[in-house]
């Protein structure tokens, strides 16, 4: 894992001290809210519906046990004993007091964490594949370049006041688990014809009110050129981005308005113009960063483990969990454990402080002290020996963290919605809970197979509904909550924006609509055909007919 150098540590501490002073001046009345608001936002402190919310960055979703324990401590001491893991691999606390925030930030700094650039029109926390470095078929671990981008973009003066917020995601394999095509910049590590690793650069993806799949502006970029090239993109954006209109200010609108060819031409022209003045990454610096991400010292093991096989035979709930939540690791004898934060009827992405401590202990004892946060709002123990899986599972069961539903209908991505968020137009969590309760039988979920439901409480689409196989968007219509359903969205390497199937549904109707959609899929699918494959084969018609015949 990356460790702060002296500069990082001093920078974060100085920001905490600065913010402490700003909070004091605000409380004394020396700073008006108008002046203070941008300062608190720069430190990740929002005002939500019922209280403040502090968003803490988890760079590319990677943490160690000490950090997670510190988050648990903060949840207990300064919040209400829980935290919410988000689609940007971050964690949010929903009830901090303003006057406590400087202390919280100091506690975060103690474990090399902060809340800087988790808000505002800057380059936000860089996200990456949550199975980075451990999944089979990866070209390269996406985290070193994510870390490089994190360092480069932190407090970068040229990119502190962009036209809008800016999100970068990195995938290291053909299979995209970071939804890169829905980011302002998506980076895919791939090889060129000579077999050298480099970067494919996508630009202009995004969700929100104008969902767009990003376009490739460079098929392959040499690794050492990444910062210079990204800087060229940022400059074109900084120059032409629509600062006059908030709804048109994201880079996706610029790419759309200019067209892919013209936008690419301008970037290449800027990049050529920058020439030798562009930031070249010192290979020694890359090597330094890469050294933090070298694989741990795995044991030489056989892939088939007799302890695991025996435990699977003897424990009814264990085998389905292994089958669904443990992914193949690149090292024989190891597995990638996915800890579901989606218990039946639970709040997607929420974890209590006790649960955090359980996962931290497991990471320390069984996963080389490492864990990940996924953009699907789950946690990952990335390197667990197969012979330890049973022990890990027992601890997770005891903590209510062993629901065997990864990628299934109840593994729902869901934003906080109107239960917390001041921008929301409707609640989203109760809809997720209804669906989860409705499909509570795990056997049924396994029969249905992979199905990604994603729910947002407003058009901002933090719940990624546009990329949901079934997407649900909460709106307000004549003073009532009202839900629009989309089908066929996907956030993977074949990214697609879901299509609205027709008129929306009331809060009580939406669960029936989802049920009908699922039944329709089950009745028309071919053997082994997933929901998305079936939808792509038959289109929306049979689903529309079924849903609107019964509503």
């Amino acid at each position: 894992m990356y460790r702060y150098d002296e500069f990082d540590a001093a920078f974060v501490r100085s920001r905490v001290a600065q913010f402490r002073d700003q909070v004091e001046r605000r409380v004394k009345g020396e700073l008006t809210e108008e002046k203070f608001r941008p300062l608190r936002l720069m430190n990740g402190l929002y005002l939500q519906l019922h209280a403040y919310m502090l968003r803490v960055a988890v760079p590319y979703g990677t943490m160690n046990s000490r950090q997670l324990r510190q988050l648990a401590f903060i949840a207990d001491k300064y919040d209400k004993g829980y935290g919410h893991f988000t689609t940007r691999q971050n964690i949010q606390f929903n009830w901090p007091k303003l006057s406590d925030v400087p202390d919280i930030l100091d506690h975060l700094a103690d474990v090399e964490m902060h809340a800087i650039q988790t808000s505002g029109n800057c380059i936000r926390n860089v996200t990456a594949d949550h199975w980075a470095g451990v999944v089979d078929g990866e070209v390269e671990d996406p985290r070193p370049v994510s870390e490089l981008l994190r360092q480069w973009s932190s407090a970068h003066p040229e990119f502190t006041f962009l036209p809008r917020k800016f999100k970068i995601a990195v995938a290291g394999a053909e299979k995209d688990r970071a939804a890169i095509a829905f980011h302002d910049i998506g980076i895919k590590i791939r090889r060129n014809e000579q077999g050298d690793p480099g970067y494919e650069i996508l630009v202009g993806g995004g969700m929100g009110r104008t969902p767009i799949v990003g376009v490739t502006v460079r098929e392959w970029l040499p690794k050492g050129e990444i910062l210079g090239y990204i800087e060229a993109i940022m400059r074109v954006y900084n120059l032409h981005g629509r600062r006059d209109n908030k709804y048109k200010a994201r880079i996706k609108i610029l790419v759309l308005e200019l067209g892919k060819e013209e936008f690419t031409r301008q970037v290449e022209e800027e990049y050529a113009r920058m020439g030798e003045t562009s930031v070249q990454v010192d290979p020694a610096e890359i090597e330094r960063i890469e050294n933090y991400f070298v694989p741990p010292h795995y044991e030489q093991l056989n892939d088939a483990d007799p302890v695991l096989a025996a435990a699977e035979n003897d424990n009814a709930g264990f085998a389905p969990w292994v089958a669904q939540n443990v992914a193949k690791h690149r090292e024989p004898g190891y597995g990638i454990v996915n800890v579901s934060l989606k218990p039946t009827g639970g709040i997607p992405g929420d974890a209590t402080s006790d649960q955090m401590r359980v996962v931290a202990d497991l990471a320390e004892n069984f996963s080389f002290d490492e864990l990940r946060v996924t953009h699907e709002q789950n946690l990952v123990l990335p390197h667990v020996k197969k012979s330890d899986l049973f022990e890990v599972w027992k601890s997770l069961v005891a903590a209510g963290l062993a629901t065997a539903n990864l990628g299934l209908v109840s593994d729902i991505i869901c934003c906080p919605g109107l239960d917390y968020c001041s921008l929301a137009t409707a609640r989203s969590i109760p809809v997720a809970q209804d669906i989860s309760n409705h499909f509570s039988e795990l056997e049924r979920q396994h029969e249905i197979g992979e199905l990604k439901i994603k729910i947002s409480g407003c058009i901002n689409a933090c719940g990624h509904h546009h990329a949901g196989h079934i997407g649900i968007l909460g709106l307000e219509k004549r003073g009532e909550e009202f839900y629009q359903v989309t089908l066929g969205g996907s956030g993977d390497e074949n990214a697609q924006v879901g299509e609205i199937i027709g008129p929306g549904f009331s809060r009580t109707e939406v669960i029936g609509a989802v049920d009908t959609i699922v039944d329709t899929y089950v009745s028309l699918r071919n053997e082994n055909e997933t929901f998305l494959e079936a939808y792509r084969r038959v289109g929306p018609k049979p689903f529309k007919e079924a849903v609107y015949a019964t509503h």
Partner: protein, 112 residues
């Protein structure tokens, strides 16, 4: 958004230190209880009340604004469900927020 039958508004805000939802009362202080909020019956009164509060640069609260309310069975209830929720706390965590305090004190909650 439903239009209320009769004009009735109050000023709400969030408290500076903890961000909790508060309402402006008759004596010009901020209270957590909507039942003690000062009601205004005309648009002009509402706007001048808000302006007055905003221009004092009141440092105990942030982001004051007006909401529509109505009297339901003798109690003040916000018209929009956003405001109803805001006044109570998360519906998915009834153990948190104003609703939990009210429940502990044995008072009734408006239905959401």
């Amino acid at each position: 958004m439903p239009k209320p039958k009769n004009f009735l508004q109050l000023v709400t805000a969030n408290r500076l230190n903890d961000g909790l939802v508060v309402f402006l009362n008759e004596s010009g202080d901020w209270t957590e209880s909507i039942d003690r909020a000062k009601l205004v019956k005309s648009k002009e009164d509402a706007e001048s009340l808000l302006k007055e509060r905003s221009s004092t640069g009141d440092d105990a609260i942030i982001e004051p604004y007006l909401i529509d309310v109505e009297i339901v069975e003798g109690t003040i209830a916000p018209v929009r469900y956003r405001e109803k929720l805001r006044g109570l706390g998360p519906t998915v965590r009834t153990d948190l927020g104003r609703q939990s305090e009210v429940a502990r004190s044995g008072l009734e909650l408006a239905n959401v």
